[in-house]
């Protein structure tokens, strides 16, 4: 396990294969929570946290499932882990850091249905990542989510003053601008660490 290996996983997850803009994972919260900068930031941080924890726990559970030949239960087990993890994080934050808990509000429970979180653990299994690689992929995948959603929120705040055809009001114009950001991210494709 080399340092460059980890670095290339990190670079891939944040820029080259950004979860939202290149792999299309987690579009729902990306569209739903990006109207304002501060909520986007809160959601991004919560997602990093949950994705890191989910990678750790799902890796451990997968260690139990594989020797028992229960791989077909992976999806079910991972969903349950993520759901209970989100619940746990919610209770923990409520007790330990109430200010952060209130700032995140309803976005915390919503993370359960964020496909980026389930996506990262499934990809960890598919790519046969080791424990450290899985955790790095989880954290940097979350950072990629944060980068994309914050960029998109700042674009969207300006969209309110833009003029466009009436039919594009609301969602369509947001999708088109997300497409333009995706176009910008295409510039990172082929970026590698030697």
């Amino acid at each position: 396990m080399s340092f460059t290996g980890i670095l290339s996983i990190a670079l891939g997850a944040i820029l080259v294969e950004n979860f939202i803009l290149v792999q299309f994972l987690g579009i729902c919260p990306f569209m739903g929570v990006s109207r304002k900068m501060d909520t986007a930031l809160g959601m991004g941080i919560a997602v990093i946290f949950v994705m890191a924890l989910a990678s750790i726990f799902c890796y451990l559970v997968n260690l139990i499932l594989v020797p028992l030949h229960l791989e077909f239960l992976q999806t079910l087990a991972f969903v349950l882990i993520i759901a209970s993890l989100v619940q746990f994080v919610e209770m923990f934050l409520q007790k330990a850091i109430p200010s952060l808990y209130e700032a995140l509000g309803i976005y915390l429970p919503l993370i359960t249905t964020n496909c980026a979180v389930l996506g990262v653990v499934l990809l960890n299994v598919q790519k046969n990542y080791s424990f450290i690689e899985s955790v790095v992929y989880g954290i940097t995948g979350g950072i990629g989510f944060l980068v994309a959603i914050v960029l998109f929120a700042s674009v969207r705040e300006r969209l309110e003053f833009a003029e466009y055809p009436k039919a594009f009001e609301g969602f369509p114009i947001a999708l088109v601008s997300a497409g333009l950001i995706a176009l910008a991210f295409m510039g990172f494709s082929g970026l590698r660490v030697w």
């Binding site: 359960t112 598919q126 039919a167 369509p172 497409g179």
Partner: protein, 215 residues
């Protein structure tokens, strides 16, 4: 509610993707060829119908407080069944859809219909709702696939027709590769939703005008 009305809701007025804006991830990610689109559409329709039936049967048994967890387990069960079937019988589809088949678990269409429809209605109506919403989703997928594939690669029905090569409409070198890239997905869906909003608004305005002239 009669069947015809339900059909219209699923396909047009409450189309899961274009109007309710659910299940975006899969719509954007896998609509690069007609084969993927139809395969994914059938998978989601089957899972949605089965989940709707089971959840509607259990709607009086599941306690209110843990209903989401219960729904997720039911959905994950059906997704696993479909995933294994696809892997066994259609390995090519399983390969090209990849991680997006297990990800149907967190597709908001299924949880959304469970919460908004199946948990409040009888079995028959819920099953119909599952089928119609699934077909509405599939139609959007097919539309996206046709547009993106045609503009991006210049073919129609790759993986399905003409021995897997698809029917060539124009030479590949004139295709805009961008439409196959993520950018094309966002753009196509944006325009489709805009079109839908345009027609829905025009329909509403016409109905209002009619009302006014009657008065």
């Amino acid at each position: 509610m009669n069947v015809k009305e339900q059909l219209k809701e699923g396909l047009v007025t409450k189309n899961p993707v274009l109007v309710q804006l659910l299940g975006m991830c899969s719509v954007l990610a896998i609509t690069t060829s007609l084969f993927n689109g139809i395969g994914m559409g059938i998978c989601v329709t089957v899972i949605l119908t089965c989940c709707n039936v089971v959840i509607s049967l259990l709607r009086k048994v599941i306690p209110q407080k843990i209903r989401i967890a219960a729904y997720v387990v039911i959905i994950a069960g059906f997704v696993t069944i479909v995933d294994l079937c696809v892997q066994a019988f259609l390995p090519a589809l399983s390969e090209s859809l990849g991680v997006f088949i297990p990800l149907i678990v967190v597709n908001c269409i299924i949880l959304g219909r469970a919460e908004a429809f199946a948990s409040r209605n009888t079995v028959g109506v819920s099953a119909l709702d599952g089928i119609f919403q699934g077909v509405g989703y599939t139609l959007v997928l097919i539309a996206m696939c046709i547009i993106r594939e045609l503009l991006g690669a210049g073919t129609f029905g790759a993986g399905l027709l003409n021995g897997g090569d698809g029917i060539r409409i124009f030479p590949a070198e004139y295709g805009a590769m961008l439409m196959i890239m993520p950018f094309g997905g966002f753009l196509t869906l944006g325009f489709l939703i805009a079109l839908m909003q345009h027609f829905l608004r025009r329909g509403k305005e016409k109905a209002e005008e009619k009302e006014r002239s009657v008065k």
